[in-house]
């Protein structure tokens, strides 16, 4: 398919942390096909490890 001329419709997002997820969601929302690639077995990244976030003190997950 790579030979196909013209633009691709996919976007590769490397990293499944809060930033990557955000990028992936926005891309998907505007109708792009997103490949969200994460090295570890699960999405979440550092944010998932935090207990709460400042300054609003709400839960991180």
């Amino acid at each position: 398919m790579a030979q196909r001329p013209g633009k691709a419709n996919g976007v590769l997002v490397l990293g499944g942390g809060i930033t990557g997820i955000q990028a992936a969601l926005d891309l998907a929302a505007s109708q792009a096909k997103v490949y969200l690639v994460e090295k570890t077995p699960s999405l979440g990244g550092r944010m998932a490890q935090l207990d709460k976030t400042f300054p609003t003190m709400d839960c991180a997950i």
């Binding site: 709460k52 709400d58 839960c59």
Partner: protein, 153 residues
């Protein structure tokens, strides 16, 4: 964890089994209860959850109806301040709950029977502790004067 199972058991050994209604908001408290589940936080089973989208949805009417029908305690649980999915829904919940408390007090029911609490989606532990503590408290208080067929076991 072992400790908690003990607690749960201890509660069930109690004579009187309280009849408790819990209103939990969808975004924080209900999720917090789920979190207690994912973490297998054992806690007392003697409560029933009714899910609402926001704690601000809970009217004095719902709570009074519960008591009229013989509930021994009612817990309303929402998101921490600043954490509400609907910005200020939990503040509205406070306003409504103030009315509820006033009515419950005037009715001569022990104010310990109603509670407004905040539990976030990550606070499974808090949820489990809260439930154990509230169920314990109601068990101490005994059946509500309006509970015509209290359960024992």
């Amino acid at each position: 964890m072992a400790v908690r199972t003990q607690q749960a058991k201890k509660k069930t050994k109690k004579e009187f089994i309280p009849n408790i209604v819990v209103f939990a908001c969808n975004w924080c408290s209900y999720a917090g209860a789920d979190n207690a589940g994912t973490n297998r936080m054992q806690h007392s089973p003697h409560f029933r959850v009714i899910r609402t989208m926001c704690s601000g949805r809970v009217t004095p009417g719902f709570v009074l109806k519960a008591f009229k029908l013989g509930a021994d305690g009612v817990l309303v649980s929402g998101c921490h301040f600043g954490d509400c999915h609907y910005i200020f829904g939990n503040y509205k919940a406070v306003e409504q709950f103030e009315k509820t408390k006033g009515l419950v007090k005037t009715l001569g029911l022990d104010l310990k029977r109603v509670r407004l609490e905040w539990v976030s989606a990550a606070e499974g532990v808090r949820w489990a502790n809260l439930i154990d503590e509230f169920v314990g408290q109601i068990a101490e208080l005994g059946p509500s004067p309006l509970n015509h067929k209290p359960k024992y076991g």
